[in-house]
């Protein structure tokens, strides 16, 4: 799973990883791990992150399989 968290942070007035972590209720190291793809957040945390940026979930997280069309 890939994500656009880093780009969204910079688009939101250069929000820091620590600030995002504070909003979501996790440590800065967890945000770093998510951005680097070393940790997949829970669905709840994913929605919380999307809510911080005020965008739909799909604009934050992308999964290759979701691009496949259902036949």
């Amino acid at each position: 799973m890939t994500n656009s968290i880093r780009a969204l942070r910079f688009a939101r007035g250069e929000m820091t990883q620590a600030q995002l972590a504070e909003h979501v209720g996790v440590t800065r190291q967890t945000i770093i791990a998510i951005e680097q793809g070393r940790y997949s957040p829970s669905l709840e945390m994913a929605f919380q992150i999307a809510a911080v940026f005020g965008v739909p979930l799909e604009q934050v997280f992308q999964h290759p399989a979701s691009d496949a069309q259902v036949r």
Partner: protein, 138 residues
């Protein structure tokens, strides 16, 4: 590095270090005493106690020298559970081996040391798995 990850490093070093000290002392005594008759109880208890103290002191020192966020969040808890789950078989194996040795009436020295080794490997393997999860992901 999170507080829990640093704590895991401290735990790994103190657990492995204490066992190596114990091993060195016991092997030193084997030179003059048959191994099954070596006095090991006091050494085992002291090195275990020293490991616990060293782990606590070490964790406090690391936090003092490089202070950081002391919270354990959901990722820390998941990694901790994963590490404990992955390494549990060492305790099971050590206990089973000790059980078999007791049934077969082996010397207490071997029974105690096999069970102790199981706990040490549980601590070391669990720490290694957790650190790998922190570095590479779950």
């Amino acid at each position: 590095m999170s507080y829990d990850e640093r704590g895991t490093w401290v735990y790994l070093v103190t657990s492995a270090g204490a066992y190596l000290v114990y091993l060195a002392i016991i092997l030193g005594r084997v030179v003059s005493t048959p191994i099954a008759h070596v006095s090991y109880v006091a050494v085992l208890l002291r090195t275990t106690g020293a490991s616990i103290v060293a782990s606590t002191v070490g964790r406090t020192l690391v936090q003092t020298v490089a202070p950081g966020d002391r919270r354990s969040d959901v990722r820390d808890k998941e990694i901790s559970r994963f590490g404990e789950y992955a390494s549990r078989w060492f305790v099971v194996a050590g206990s089973a081996a000790g059980f078999a040795m007791a049934l077969a009436r082996w010397e207490y020295f071997w029974t105690a040391n096999v069970i102790y080794l199981g706990f040490v490997l549980w601590a070391v393997a669990g720490s290694v798995v957790k650190l790998a999860a922190y570095q590479r992901g779950l």
